[in-house]
Symmetry: C2
Subunit: 210 residues, 2 copies
């Protein structure tokens, strides 16, 4: 049972035409940036007339917000999921990084918009996603703090460490392309190992897993 990419990305957006517009928007925003993209570009790429966009979204900014919000909710869910399923700080960080990095690689087009087109959001909409971002950062920081207190991590500042961990994941969206030599999953595992060493976690026999 294959499904369209847009249905996979935004399963609960109806109708399918709205999803096609979001997909066209994501691709254009990721490649050229929000402000360099015209509503005609988006509608044209979705195979529709310029005015069709306004049947489904009140403005170009609202389309960006829909994309940005869904993306942030997905990454937050990812992180929350790990914390819910696993309690060991080391494994929590490993899995968070694996999933976070893999998502930013597999969904690098969406991720590029999510991470780098924030500033284009109107103030109110920006505040909504900013709150989601704070929750993500807080979770990572708390896991690191817990690990440090348990003695399994060696860090001088959980704030800075959390930033560094997220930086590694976020920046993947900037450089990853389909032609990369590693699959998203493999890259996630690799980065998981790098991060654990960075946090001074006790090491398994093979320092970096393939």
């Amino acid at each position: 049972m294959t499904m369209s990419l847009s249905a996979e990305l935004w399963p609960d957006v109806q109708p399918e035409t709205a999803r096609r517009l979001m997909l066209a928007g994501v691709e254009a925003f990721a490649k050229r940036g929000y402000h360099a993209t015209t509503t005609r570009d988006i509608a044209g790429a979705a195979g529709m007339s310029p005015a069709a966009l306004y049947v489904h979204f009140p403005s170009k900014a609202a389309l960006l917000f829909a994309i940005s919000r869904y993306g942030h909710e997905q990454t937050l869910a990812l992180v929350e999921n790990v914390v819910a399923k696993e309690s060991d700080p080391v494994e929590r960080i490993r899995l968070i990084v694996e999933d976070f990095v893999a998502w930013h690689a597999r969904r690098h087009t969406v991720a590029r918009v999510v991470q780098y087109e924030l500033q284009a959001l109107p103030e109110k909409e920006f505040e909504v996603v900013a709150e989601l971002r704070r929750r993500i950062e807080r979770i990572v920081r708390d896991v690191i703090t817990a690990g440090a207190e348990a003695g399994v991590f060696t860090v001088s500042d959980a704030h800075i460490s959390a930033r560094a961990v997220l930086s590694l994941g976020v920046d993947v969206a900037r450089w990853y392309t389909e032609r990369a030599r590693q699959t998203p999953t493999a890259l996630g595992k690799e980065y998981g190992g790098l991060v654990l060493r960075m946090l001074g976690a006790a090491q398994p026999e093979t320092p970096v897993t393939n």
Copy 2:
């Protein structure tokens, strides 16, 4: 002997008015993005009429290119400097990261334009800075490879490791602000320690300095 920020950033650009335009451009591009910035914004911020920009730059894109090129040349020079002065791979990486991170923090406004407004450059101009970027990445990768062959680093893929090291530095430009709790220099030292652990370098007595 104090000097204006613009003279400090671009000492060999003449006349001073051109530098003021570059400074206004940097600030606007960093805050709103290239495409959301108008030539009227830039000229206005520099205290001039809209047409004044075209006395010193043939186009808005040429202004961006001047900013981007200077910035890339500065970071490349930084990295080349370390390699010229130091030969031990561990110290090379430590100093590269310290300087690279400190630059991205201290000059975060310029760095934001350098790292995130690339796509707005016309193709020819983009190719010029892309070549500078490749040289930076190559140097870092070569140092890591040398360290791995000397047995002082433990990495499974120098390509990925170099990307990760640069990611940490680049991403600083995205989140650093003047209100950050660490000075650029302190942040650089902190990140130097994190990176050395990430690369599996043999550790001094205190794993993370400061």
